[in-house]
Each structure stands twice: as C-alpha cells, then as structure tokens.
C-alpha cells in the first residue's frame, strides 16, 4: 500500500492508496505509528482506499488509540460510501473525526487544536 505524507498548514496529512487488508495492514501500521507526532493532529486521507478488511479496521483503531496515548487527534476524510457504511455498522466510525473533504477535515482538526490550546 502506498502512503504519501505531506504537511498542510502544520497538520500532517497521510494519504493511503490501495487496499487495507491483512496483507498490507502490518506494514501500514508500522509506518504510520513510527511517524506519529506527539500532541498534534493527523489527517488520514482515504480517498485512494478501495477496500478495508477486518484487519484494516483494526489497524485504523490501533492508530487512533496510539494517537490518543500521545495526545494526538486523528481525522478521517475521503471515505467511500461503502467503507463509511462498514465503519458505521461496526461502530469504528465513532472513534474518528470524520469529514467529507480534505478542506473540511483540516478545518475540523484546526478546531480541535484551537479548543485544546484554549483549554491549556
């Protein structure tokens, strides 16, 4: 699976391309978790993801939990209707901040950052 990393307005955006299944999941997990920033927001762009299997869902949850333990926040954009439906039916969707577009995803995460800094 291809993972493109870029930083847009200080938010790390990871764009995944391909199928997230038991073949690709261990590698994706390792690469994303290794680069997970502390106390920041990360946006996962799934617009290039065509399929998420059971193992893929678990990788997503692990990324979320790892981010949480590092006081980071994970946003999700670009979900296909099918993937969104699967995430919703299994409850995985509730763990993430989900937005309909990259711009909205960035805005949502900036809002989280502002709230966090406001509290601090």
């Amino acid at each position: 699976m291809e993972i493109r990393t870029r930083v847009i307005e200080s938010i790390m955006v990871l764009s995944l391309v391909g199928e997230l299944d038991s073949r690709s999941a261990p590698d994706v997990q390792q690469r994303i978790l290794a680069g997970m920033p502390r106390n920041e927001c990360v946006l996962l762009d799934f617009s290039g993801v065509t399929f998420v299997s059971s193992a893929g869902l678990r990788t997503m949850l692990l990324i979320y939990r790892q981010a949480q333990s590092m006081d980071s926040t994970v946003g999700l954009v670009g979900l296909s209707d099918e993937i969104r439906s699967v995430l919703s039916a299994t409850g995985f969707l509730g763990f993430f901040i989900v937005s309909d577009s990259l711009a909205l995803g960035l805005a949502a995460l900036r809002h989280v950052e502002q709230e966090a800094s406001g509290v601090a």
């Binding site: 038991s22 059971s54 869902l57 699967v86 039916a89 299994t90 409850g91 995985f92």
Partner: protein
C-alpha cells in the same frame, strides 16, 4: 547467525516441526477447541470419540474446491482430540472444515462420511449465507463454511448491566423483522446495525431488556419453499434451527459480506448497554439444523452422531423437538459444549442472559426420560461465568413434557410462565371462573414460584409464537393459509376473542372495544408482579392478519411496520406510560411474593370487588380488584388499587378507605377517551369522589393512593 531482535512473544511454538501438503505445521494445543489465532499460525483442535482419522480441509473464500488438505498425523492426537498448528495461512481469505473417517453403521448410530466436509462446531464465524436471502449455490459441497475472525474489540469499559431481574421489562424482537420494513427509514435495514439506529425508540418506550429471537447462524433457506397459490417464497425466517452455535448470524449483519458480524454484534450490545438496555438471546439447544436421517450433514452427525443426538436402540433419531432430532443435552460431552458456548457469548459478547427454547428437553437424559437432577441445567445454574446471566426456560417441549412451575430450577432459573398467558387471556376475553386463578397470576404466581422470587415468573400475553396482541383481540381463529399447509399448522387454543367481527372492521364499536382490550391487556401485564415481556410491535397494535405461526414469512406480514408508530400513537403513549409507571413504582416489582404481613396498617396485598374488602370469587365473577400497600418511590407510604373488569357491564366499585392523609389519584382508566385514559407517571390527577368509582364494561383502572401534592 542473524542477530535481528524478534518480538518477545515469539517462542519455540512459533516454528513448524514438519511440513504437510506444503504447509509448515507442528503438534497443536488441545485447548481451546476450535480454531484459534496463535503467533504465526492457526491452531486447529477437533474431537471425536471414535473417529479413526481426521483431515483439515482448507478453502479460499467461496471456492468450491479446497486448496489444501492436511491429514492430522496420528501422533498429533491426544485422547480423542486432534490438534495441529498450521503456519503462514492468509486468514482473511480462508475457510476451513474437516473430513472425519470412521464407521458408517447407522443401526449402531455411527454415520461417519469422509466424502463430506464438516463444519467446526466451534466456528466463531460462518460464511455461505453471509447476505440474507441471496440464493445459495446449491451445488456447493461445503455450504456452511467455518471462518477465522479477529476477536479483539474496543468495548470502552462496557460490561453486562446486572439490572435486578425483577426490574426488567423485556421486549421480544426479531433482528431482521425489527427494521427491515422500508418504513423503518434506517441506513442498515434488517441488521444488528439497523437495530442500533432504533435504540432511541426503545429508550422512549422504556423497556430495559431486549430478547432477540435466534441469532446463532442458521440457514434461512432450510425448508424453504414457494407457496404454489401465492408464489411467495417461504423461508426459515424465525431461525429456530441452529447451524453454528458460536457464530452470530452473518445475514443479520450489514457487514456480513466482509465477515465483520462479530464486530457488528458487539457494537450493538455495547450501544444497547449504553442506553441501559440488557440483551438476552433466545438460544436453541434442543435440536440442530441437521434434522433427521434425511437432513443435511453439517457437523455433529459426521463427527460423533451417537454422542450428540438421542437415538433409539435402532439408531433412529428421537424427535422430542418436533423438528427431526433431539440433542443429547445431558451427555457429558454435549453438556460441556453447551456450557462453553454460553460462557463464550457471556464473556465475548457481554450478553446479559439467555432464553432456552423448548428447555424441557434440556432435562431429558440419554434415554429420553426426564431426569430428576439434570446435570446440564444444574451446571448452568451454578456456573461462575454465567452467574449474573438471566436464565429463562421455555419449560415445555414437543414431546409432551410440561414443566411450568416444576422446571428444575436450583433457585436460579426463571420460566416463561405459560399459565400466566393462558389465564390472563381467558380472563380478558371474558371466560367465567378465571378470577381465582388470575389473583395468583398478578402477584407473581406464588403457587408456582413460592420461595424462588417473583422474577422466576416471566409474564407474557403474547410472544413470537401465536397471535400478536392486536390479533388476539381481532380473531377468534387462526388464519394460517399463507403458510402453505392448509391452515393445519399453528396452535388452536388461542384464547382470543374478536369482539364480534372476525378480522379488520370499520365498525366503530368493535374498534373501540378492541382498542380498550389492548389497553386492558397492557394494564394487566404491566401491573403484575413478575417480569413482563412485550412482543415487539404489540405496543403499536401490529397485526399478522390472524396468522399465529408466521415462522416462514420474511415479509410485511412479520416485519415491524413503523408507520404504526404514528397511526397508533394513542396506544403507544398508553404503553409507554404504563412502563414508566411500573419503573417508577417499586410496589409492582417486589422480589418477594405477598407475605400477608401488615404494611401501613393494611395487608400487603388484599382483594376487593364491588364492595371493598369483599372480592367475588364465584364462577360467574369477571371482576377483580387488588390493593397493594407499601412504599412509593419516594419512600412514603403508598397504595395501589388495580381493578380489572372483563364483564360486559359497567360496575360501581366501593374503594377501600385510605389513611386520612392520603388521597386516591387516577393513573389509568381504559374506559375514558385519550388523552385521559392514562396519566404521566407522577402527575396523576386526584379522584374527585374518594369513596366510589365506576369501572366501565371490559375496562381496567389503576389508582395510586398517596399524599395530595400541594
């Protein structure tokens, strides 16, 4: 030598000792039974008391021919258990089964057949019927395919709710039927996820326990046929025919096609719990989908036929279940299997309890005779994992064993109280001679459950089996023609009354009477001690057009019609308030039966008629009033007066006098038009005449005696 650090969990067991059919393997672990993920591989463990050899058969998803067959080496067997760890399997693209070799001698009870691929009785997920109603490939040599799935889940601290049993209001529902009708307007109709979308409705209704009709994997196409008259395809819709006991029905999951039914089921339980609603599963251990000698070979028959089924001396199947076979529940091996299965559902899925279909069969011994001290039922009663689970017996079977009130209970089991249903329905329709028995039923049936607690009595008027409540007041007779058996199937003793016209009518008098009878029924059910169970849809007057055995209808006939929520909002409001009243009134939920003790200077329970303190117990009496004395929710002294009149004439009732500082308030009066038929709990208006009240023809009254609120 490489010095690359390996993860610490890597151990010597992570390496194969030999190769079979191209795969690295090593002797497996005997326990746990079934297939389990272990580091770098899968551990397969299967047992059979008299198999001579076993082969593991591996398929890619949906493939009709296996990609590998791995015979278990004889030295991998310990006792009767064959176990093997196989390395480097792609578990998301894997289905597995077994070929089991042994004698084929049906007269002696042995039916081994290695030409068949058998499913793993411990499979945690099954594919083959993954999407409901999709016509299967009938030529598939392996129709119910065992799969491996991940068991991790983020529960967020969820655990079973452990509500006191006597506080429950149970709602019996069918996962698919609850939301499959387009009127449900949910995103995932007919599924576990769809049910989650309707949790707000359940919360508003007020029920705190949902009892799901069978959710263990079954085959909706089993016994499927087409009604020649209507062209309707008839399915095994209810699902009382288990294919795989450890696997949630994939076709009930919106994500079943991705084998995510375990996650979806867990999410449903978690969401129900967070709404304060317990989950009870209707489980069917009395028989299996393998049927009789002509049925399909799925697992048990080819693994160890004699161990799993009750057989006659000639090797034929006993049929106490009415479905072809009878599980040999009290054989030690099957006992252990059932216990493991229930422990699994309690621990893995956080379910709060189980209702056992035709549970009387669970008390039969290997010869088919009822046992005095059936070890399976005893084991379940005392099991540490199941300690907080509700255990409910349907205490009869199709072989004539009727154990309501006498089911071996170990002070632990509750029962579907069939006598409550029969008496309450006969009283409501106006049968004579019912008042004496009704009195026992409304106080938790102490004649049946004395010393066991009122929660032993699961009170119900209707369940999936039989008329809906709306049909109970609309039909004298069953109308099962749509089942394609010439109206011969289904029970004939319905204890129902149509009010003067059979079926739908525009007659306002008949409609008014039926509406009142529905409310009378709900008052009776929801003010009785014991645990009330409501059939899903009865709160909105759902009809099945007089069909009292809708097991085969996957159609509008059996689905919940959500347009009724608006159409019958008057009844729904009445039921909601009755549930709210019950939950706000501890006096209706006391765990102990009446003691005859003095409370507030009154007996805890006393009986009344037209005259206070003078109930009419005669054959012709159709009126009964009960006075309960105790504490209200605020801890203050309080009283309840519940009067039920199934006579066709109105009656003037003398009310028992209250202590000076208390006044009668009216919670419900079914002969009054809505919205005054029922009050909001806690806001009951004071009764103007504290001495007398008229109860209408075929009506129910609920009064609360408490201080005047200033």
């Amino acid at each position: 030598m490489t010095t690359t650090a390996r993860p610490v969990q890597d151990r010597i067991e992570s390496f194969p000792t030999e190769r079979i059919a191209g795969y690295g393997v090593r002797p497996g672990r005997v326990l746990p039974f079934g297939a389990s993920l272990v580091p770098s591989g899968v551990n397969f463990s299967v047992y059979s008391s008299c198999a001579q050899a076993v082969t593991l058969v591996l398929f890619k998803n949906s493939a009709t021919t296996p990609f590998a067959e791995l015979p278990f080496p004889e030295e991998f067997r310990i006792g009767a258990v064959w176990s093997m760890t196989v390395f480097d399997l792609e578990i998301e693209d894997l289905e597995y089964g077994y070929r089991v070799y042994g004698p084929s001698d049906p007269d002696a009870g042995d039916r081994f057949d290695p030409t068949q691929v058998l499913a793993d009785p411990y499979a945690k997920a099954v594919s083959g019927r993954s999407v409901w109603g999709v016509e299967p490939d009938w030529t598939d040599p392996y129709p119910y395919r065992s799969r491996l799935t991940f068991d991790d889940f983020d529960w967020d601290g969820d655990q079973p709710l452990r509500l006191p049993a006597e506080d429950l209001v149970i709602y019996e529902a069918h996962v698919r039927g609850f939301t499959n009708d387009p009127s449900s307007a949910v995103a995932h109709p007919g599924t576990y996820a769809g049910l989650v979308e309707k949790i707000p409705y359940l919360k508003e209704l007020g029920v705190n326990c949902i009892e799901l009709m069978p959710v263990f994997e079954f085959d909706e196409f089993q016994g499927g046929r087409v009604d020649e008259d209507t062209g309707e395809s008839l399915l095994n819709y209810w699902g009382y025919s288990t294919v795989s006991f450890f696997a949630p029905k994939a076709g009930f999951a919106a994500t079943g096609r991705y084998a995510l039914q375990r996650d979806e089921f867990k999410h449903m339980v978690k969401e129900l719990h967070s709404a304060g609603i317990e989950v009870v599963l209707d489980v069917v251990f009395n028989h299996t989908a393998e049927g009789n000698q002509d049925g399909p070979m799925i697992h048990f028959r080819g693994l160890d036929n004699r161990v799993y089924y009750l057989l006659t001396g000639e090797g034929d199947y006993y049929n106490f279940s009415g479905t072809g076979n009878t599980v040999n529940c009290n054989s030690p091996v099957v006992r252990d299997y059932v216990l493991s299965c229930l422990r699994f559902w309690a621990a893995e899925y956080h379910v709060d309890g189980f209702r056992f279909d035709l549970a009387a069969i669970l008390s039969r011994g290997p010869d088919g005779a009822p046992m005095e001290n059936p070890p399976l039922i005893e084991s379940l009663a005392y099991d540490p994992v199941l300690q907080d689970c509700l255990l409910i017996a349907e205490a009869w079977d199709a072989g004539g064993l009727y154990q309501v009130g006498s089911f071996p209970n170990y002070r632990r089991w509750s029962e579907w109280n069939g006598k409550y249903r029969d008496t309450a329905r006969r009283f409501l329709k106006g049968d004579p001679g019912m008042v004496g028995d009704l009195a026992k039923r409304v106080v938790g049936s102490p004649d049946l459950y004395h010393g066991r607690g009122t929660h032993s009595s699961i009170n119900f008027l209707t369940c999936h089996d039989g008329f809906t409540l709306a049909d109970m007041v609309s039909y004298n007779d069953k109308h099962n023609e749509a089942n394609g058996e010439g109206n011969r199937d289904g029970a004939n003793d319905n204890n129902s009354w149509n009010g003067g016209v059979e079926g739908p009518t525009a007659d306002p008098d008949v409609r008014g009477l039926r509406n009142r009878q529905l409310k009378n029924a709900m008052v009776l059910l929801l003010t009785s001690q014991g645990v009330p169970m409501i059939l899903s849809g009865d709160e909105v007057g759902r009809s099945q057009q007089g069909n009292n055995n809708a097991y085969c209808h996957d159609s509008v006939l059996s689905w919940f019609d959500w347009s009724l929520v608006n159409e019958n909002s008057e009844l729904l409001r009445f039921v909601r308030n009755c549930i709210g009243f019950r939950l706000a009134t501890p006096l209706l939920r006391t765990r102990h039966h009446p003691r005859g003790s003095d409370v507030n200077g009154y007996p805890d329970v006393s009986w009344h008629g037209s005259r206070a303190w003078d109930a009419d117990w005669s054959e012709e009496s159709r009126l009964l009033a009960v006075l309960r004395s105790g504490e209200l929710a605020d801890g203050e002294a309080g009283f309840l007066y519940i009067a039920l009149n199934s006579h066709w004439a109105a009656n003037l009732l003398e009310l028992p006098a209250l202590p000076a500082e208390l006044r009668w308030h009216v919670f419900a009066n079914t002969s009054v038009a809505a919205p005054d038929d029922v009050a909001t709990p806690g806001l009951e208006p004071v009764l103007p005449d504290q001495g007398w009240i008229t109860i209408g023809p075929r009506a129910a009254l609920v009064l609360v005696g408490r201080r005047l609120t200033s």
